[in-house]
């Protein structure tokens, strides 16, 4: 602080502080605080605000219960409120997407970090970056075309004789998972690559020279070293998936509700901003819990994740 004053003088120091203050307080902290505050207030007419009906309660949060539907869990059937089910399935399928992207990315990151010759690396990266520069909506739209009932996938599978009749791909959660994996897989590849790249290749060779089979080398040498990358990739993919609205809306059907869609319905169709705030806060809470969990499990700090 003193340092800043001495180098740039009072005016510029205050400018830096002012801009940072504007960002963190006006754009981040206060809006989130407002959201939290209004999530406890009822949704009432403008004229009644401040009146006897305007008091804090958990009413908005309770709206997640109600409208019970059938739900089966490992063979057990029971009733469950529809929004709780959507909330729960959003978390489960986001976690599934995270796991799938990790399995897909691990060999690729290892290949990029340790096997491929450094000369072809820039070209490969440029190719990998192409989809990243294409916006999310177009990437899920591409899968919408591919998975359509009369789309290329069905036509090719029919032609190959693998299937006899067209399959309705767009139903249930599988197209959503396919879309999310495709859209976010690179957010797993790059952190993994970054963390593996810093591993000294001599360590791998040493392990091999000492007779370690390849799987043990990965388990004991490479995976532990890649921990910060795994944490960072998992956090990014999970957050983006759970928070995605585009992919589930585009590739989902009536049988696949996503929690963001619930929020959108409440905010836009229902115009009930207070309940919307409550549900948005729940989503934020889940994401916060997931980040803390990842940081705890992999023993990394926030600064490692942000790399």
């Amino acid at each position: 602080m003193q340092d800043l004053l001495r180098r740039y003088g009072i005016a510029l120091t205050w400018l830096c502080i002012g801009l940072t203050f504007f960002w963190l307080v006006i754009l981040v902290v206060l809006p989130n605080f407002t959201m939290l505050e209004s999530s406890f207030r009822p949704y009432i007419a403008q004229s009644e605000i401040g009146g006897p009906l305007d008091f804090y309660s958990l009413g908005n949060y309770m709206k997640i219960f109600g409208n019970e539907v059938d739900f089966s869990f490992f063979g057990y059937d029971f009733k469950m409120p529809v929004r709780v089910k959507v909330f729960y399935l959003t978390i489960v399928y986001s976690a599934l997407v995270t796991v799938i992207t990790f399995v897909m990315s691990y060999p690729l990151a290892y290949y990029l970090a340790k096997i491929v010759s450094p000369k072809s690396l820039p070209t490969l990266f440029l190719l990998l970056f192409v989809p990243l520069w294409v916006s999310e909506i177009l990437r899920s739209f591409a899968w919408w075309i591919i998975l359509a009932l009369k789309g290329p996938l069905n036509v090719i599978l029919l032609w190959l004789g693998i299937i006899d009749t067209e399959i309705r791909w767009i139903s249930g959660f599988s197209p959503v998972v396919v879309g999310l994996v495709y859209t976010y897989v690179l957010f797993m590849v790059f952190p993994l690559y970054n963390s593996m790249q810093s591993l000294d290749s001599n360590q791998i060779e040493a392990a091999e020279d000492l007779g370690s089979p390849w799987w043990r080398t990965h388990w004991r040498v490479i995976l532990p070293h890649a921990k910060p990358g795994i944490a960072s990739g998992a956090v990014m993919v999970f957050m983006l998936s759970a928070g995605s609205l585009l992919v589930p809306s585009l590739l989902g059907s009536t049988t696949s509700g996503w929690f963001t869609q619930t929020i959108q319905g409440i905010m836009m169709d229902g115009q009930d901003w207070n309940t919307g705030a409550a549900f948005a806060f729940m989503l934020l809470l889940v994401c916060t819990i997931f980040v803390s969990l990842m940081m705890r499990v992999f023993g990394v700090k926030l600064s490692d994740i942000a790399k």
Binding site: R7, C16, P31, E136, L283
Partner: protein, 279 residues
Amino acid sequence: MNQNRNILFHLYMGLFLVYLLVPLLVMGGAAFNASKLPTIIPWRGWTDEWFVALWNDNRIWIAFRNTILVAIAVVLIAVPIGTAAAILINSISGRVRAILYGMMVAPILIPGVVIGISTLLFWNYFSIGSGLHLSVLGQVSYIASFVMLLVLARLQSFDAGLEEAALDLGATHAQVMRRILLPHLYPAIGAGAAISFFQSIENFNVTLFTRGGADTLTVYVFSKVRSGITPTINALALLLIIFTLGLAIWYEISRRRRERIERAREDEGRRAEAAVLTS
């Protein structure tokens, strides 16, 4: 054994690239198909009618203009904020730094839906209604984090002694900032501006909740896909892909050229040093 394994890896890399790129090709190809629905099979012959339809679509032009205006506004606000925040956090240490850093990184991890709703509710408190101005503020709140991270990384390689020297030689504070610190940060600031621009163009979640009635490209495409789909969207997609690809390649080429120049300069410096030492 090792050779075989490498072949498998090469194969996997190839398959992965196919997996990434084929959907984009399918989407682009459908823009030229004379079929009423966006698909490549069955192929009903080449046509440019979707590009003509796109050209004649007025709403898309408005959406395009809005997108660009929002992106420029985001760059103009997020870049100074991110740079200032990086300079500030670089000059402090200890617990305060850790807390501030956490607060600065957190917006990246907040779901866009939450940012959109919280921004909407907060400004509504002051009777400022929804519209693209709120989209700008919502987007800045997390895009500034990217700029901050980029500039902070660049600051690590900054030699603070240069500023000392300038101050000793009588430079004013503004001169130190403008002539010494900022030029060193320009590459990071440039990269930050580019990333801010693209992040803003691609943004959907924040914009959807804050936009009011205005369209941006992503929101417009979204509403199109939900209602009546014609391959016009594919034509737009293809143009966008070509545009972003062009920018990406241009950025990559200029980055490599800069790197080459810098390396050449360093080599020159080393040779000069060596010459001085040996003479």
